[in-house]
Symmetry: C2
Subunit: 244 residues, 2 copies
C-alpha cells in the first residue's frame, strides 16, 4: 500500500477569504484533517478552515498540554511539548501508513512560527510532504493597518516579545522595520524598549487582524491600563524608506 501525503495547510491570518485557492482545494479533498486548540477553546485554524472541509472528514483535535502553568524556560515545558508533538506525529503516521492523505491545519503561514513545524520535524523524510504556504498574521496586520512596511533596502527584523528589554532595545537599534510577535504580558517591557530605541511613536498595535473583532491602533493610543494583550497580538513598526 502507498502511504498517504501529509499536507501542511496554512490557513492565513483569520479572514476565511485569505485562504489560498490551493489550501481550499486540499481541504476539500482530504478525508482526514488535524488541528491544534487550547483546552476549552474551539480551535482557531479549524474555525477559519471549517467552510472548506468535507463535513464527513475525520477530525483529529489535539489540545496543547498547557499554556501558562509552566514557564517556557522550565525544562519540563520542553519535554512535555516534545512528547506532545511526538504523540501527534504518531497519530498522523497511523493514518498516513493506512494510505490516507492528512491535512494538518495551521494559522498564518505554517513554517513561520507554526505548531505544524514540530510535527513536520518528527515526520520529515518518512512521508510525502506538501506544504501550502499562507498569508502570515503580520501581513494581515500591515494590510489592514494600510502600513507599507519595507521599502527599497530596508531591513526587517521579526523579534519575539519574550526577549529581555536590553536585547529588544539593541536589536531595535540595528533594524529598519520591526515586527514584535507574542506580545501578551510582555507589552510593558516592549513599550520601554521601543521608547529607549526611539521607535515608539511609529509603533502600531495589532490584535486579531482581518477578523471581525480586529483591533488596530497606534501603540501610543493604547492605554497602559488596558486588559493584558493577547499572546498573539503584534507590534508593527514600518521601515525607514531606505533608497533601493
Amino acid at each position: 500500500m502507498t502511504a498517504g501525503t501529509l499536507h501542511t495547510v496554512s490557513v492565513g491570518p483569520g479572514d476565511p477569504e485569505l485562504l489560498t485557492l490551493k489550501a481550499v482545494r486540499v481541504l476539500g479533498a482530504v478525508h482526514c484533517f488535524a488541528f491544534f486548540a487550547k483546552r476549552g477553546r474551539s480551535g482557531h485554524a479549524v474555525g477559519v478552515a471549517r467552510a472548506y472541509l468535507r463535513p464527513n472528514a475525520e477530525a483529529l483535535r489535539f489540545d496543547y498540554p498547557f499554556t501558562t502553568e509552566l514557564p517556557p524556560d522550565h525544562p519540563d515545558y520542553r519535554l512535555a511539548f516534545n512528547a506532545f508533538y511526538e504523540q501527534v506525529a504518531g497519530m498522523l503516521a497511523r493514518r498516513l501508513d493506512a494510505g490516507l492523505d492528512v491535512a494538518l491545519l495551521c494559522e498564518g503561514d505554517a513554517f513561520f512560527y507554526g505548531s505544524a513545524m514540530y510535527v513536520f520535524d518528527h515526520l520529515a523524510g518518512r512521508y510525502r510532504h506538501d506544504v501550502v504556504p499562507g498569508v502570515t498574521g503580520m501581513a494581515g496586520g500591515w494590510a489592514r493597518a494600510c502600513l507599507p512596511m519595507t521599502h527599497g533596502d530596508d531591513v526587517l527584523s521579526v523579534l519575539p516579545g519574550t526577549l529581555d528589554q536590553a536585547a529588544l532595545t539593541s536589536r531595535l537599534a540595528v533594524t529598519d522595520a520591526v515586527v514584535i510577535m507574542k506580545v501578551g504580558r510582555h507589552l510593558p517591557k516592549i513599550r520601554a524598549a521601543l521608547s529607549a530605541a526611539g521607535r515608539g511613536a511609529d509603533a502600531i498595535y495589532v490584535e486579531r487582524a482581518t477578523m471581525a473583532d480586529e483591533r488596530i491602533l497606534r501603540l501610543d493610543d493604547l492605554p497602559d491600563d488596558d486588559h493584558p494583550a493577547p499572546y498573539f497580538a503584534l507590534i508593527l513598526v514600518p521601515g525607514r524608506k531606505r533608497a533601493r
Copy 2:
C-alpha cells in the same frame, strides 16, 4: 460622483493557485487593473493574475524607467523612480476620480518590498483603500524547500543583499533565521558573509519558488561559475530552534 477604490492586490509568489480567494474575487470584479513590468518583458504579476482578470478590463501597463543603467545610490535613480511612481499615481487617480475601482497588482505581498507601496504612498488618504495581503516569495520558498524557518523564540532577519559584507556579517551574527533578498550580482559577497558568520552550511538558494522553472538547492551545491543569480533570487537560513 463617488471616487473609486484602490485595491492593492498581492498575487503571491508565482503559482496562480497561491492567490487568495479575496484576490481572485477582486480581480474578477474590477474593470481596470494596473501592473509593472520590465521593458521588453510580459510582466510577472499580470502573468500570475491573468486567468482571474476580466478579459475586457482596461490594462494599464507601467514599464520601470530602468533597472541596471544607473546604480541605486545615484541621486538621479531616486529622482527618476519618484517621478515614475508619481506619474503612475496620477494615471490611477484619473480612473479613481471617474468612479472606477482599480486593482494594482503586485508580486508576493504588496506591502513587503512591493512596488505598489510607492504608488500607495502617493495616493494614501485621497481614496478608499483595500489592501489584499498575499503569500510572500520567501514563504513560497521555504514551503517548497520543506524548510521550517522559525521555531519558538527564534529571531528572523530579512536582509537586502545590497548591504556591504561587513554589515551582512554582523547582522548574521545576531539573528537565528535569515532571509537574504535581492541576491542577484551580490551572491559572491553574500557567500563570503555567510561563511564568515558560520551560517553557510545551512543556507538554501531559491530561484522562482512555486513556479514551473523553480530552482532550489543548498547554496554549497550552487557552482561558483553558475550564471549570475536573478535579482529576485533568495537565500534562506533556517533558525536555531530556540525554545519557546
